[in-house]
Subunit: 236 residues, 2 copies
């Protein structure tokens, strides 16, 4: 049913959407980096900028979502093409949520700075985890840009590392709080930041799963597909 | 372009999907109630059942998502009809996440029971908030079932109440922890439960926003649409 002309138009429209999604991805990646940086430095202006940028991210979500719906109605894509659009719609949702989590980190940065007394080395506690999740996010956007299923599989496996780091941070913070109740406020702010970083890892994993859905045509959510793929590579 | 036959088929297919989404909604609503109940009673078997049911919820997510894509490819809906399918796809995502949050509550219930010593009245602390969020979820599913935009608007306004209750719980728990460090483990479990409940309120709000999108054709995410609607009703 699709003529060559219509199919070409479809490809062009889809490419426009994809490049805007990558723009949105760049925005939330910067939001995350800046939020972590403000948590380190206590730079309130930087934290407030992260919170402000979230409005742009929200606007991009709504307009990109709308563009995807228009594409479907106008070009009536076949099953294969539709898969890419549907996955893109979900990537957009996850990117918006990453923006929300970055905003939470920025809020904690403000709160910890405004309280004035830091009773624990709050940035050092989350440093490694923030770097792991940042790498996951970067790789997820890269895998989406290049439609690289292998890279997507690799990064999904890293989510367990981030989750492990989160649990270890939680145990650390509990120890601090028990030893010295004066650390409780600061430790809780740090705990929320760690939680937000853990969620960003989850969202990066979701994006990678959508990349695999686009490339392989497999919905691998809630399956052990990644483990089996990694195993194949080790044994072969 | 759509013949009457095709349009009727579309309506029937959509109705099948909608009734399965409501089935999924019923499952996660029960998951949430049972999770809270196990947090109250310390019934580990009940908590484990909540965790087990989550696999059914996950399977429903994947199969319903697939059914929506098939519907679009097969029936090529016009803009108005597509809006309903797209919103339904997003409702499914939120329902699955509610299942995840209920599972987290069940895990905390297990953890607090297995530790054996409860140093605070953990259920009493979250009781009111759990009831508020449970009502929001119930109303969201009801609004989706009856496509009731007014009910959706009412319940979105309640999200602020749940958020307020969360902040008040957090302050309470901090006080407990500072006064007696032996409460810290128990207080943190309770804090995670409160956080999961707050997230369930957010997801119920999202579902209500999608109902409004279906009924009114307006994407009201990140806008003050609800406030303006409630104001209209007060002043008129």
């Amino acid at each position: 049913m699709q003529g060559e002309h219509s199919s070409k138009q479809y490809d062009m429209d889809l490419e426009t959407i994809r490049s805007k999604v990558l723009l949105m991805g760049g925005l939330v990646e910067n939001q995350f980096q800046d939020a972590v940086s403000s948590f380190k430095s206590g730079n309130i202006a930087q934290a407030e900028q992260v919170i402000k940028v979230d409005q742009d991210v929200n606007r991009l979500e709504v307009s990109l979502d709308d563009a995807c719906s228009h594409l479907i109605v106008k070009r009536q894509p076949a099953a294969n093409d539709l898969r890419t659009v549907m996955a893109t719609i979900k990537v957009i949702i996850d990117l918006e949520r990453i923006g929300d989590e970055a905003t939470k980190i920025a809020r904690s940065a403000k709160s910890i700075t405004e309280r004035g007394v830091t009773t624990i080395n709050h940035y050092e506690i989350i440093r490694v985890m923030a770097s792991s999740a940042g790498n996951m996010l970067h790789d997820a956007l890269d895998a989406f840009a290049r439609l690289d299923g292998k890279q997507a599989i690799q990064l999904i496996a890293k989510d367990e590392v981030v989750n492990h780091e989160f649990r270890s941070i939680m145990r650390n913070l509990i120890t601090f709080m028990m030893e010295d109740p004066r650390t409780i406020s600061c430790a809780l702010d740090t705990l929320w930041v760690a939680k937000a970083i853990e969620r960003i890892g989850d969202h990066a994993k979701n994006i990678a799963e959508y990349v695999i859905y686009i490339v392989e045509g497999k919905d691998i959510r809630h399956t052990d597909y990644v483990a089996s793929q990694l195993e194949d590579r080790t044994t072969n």
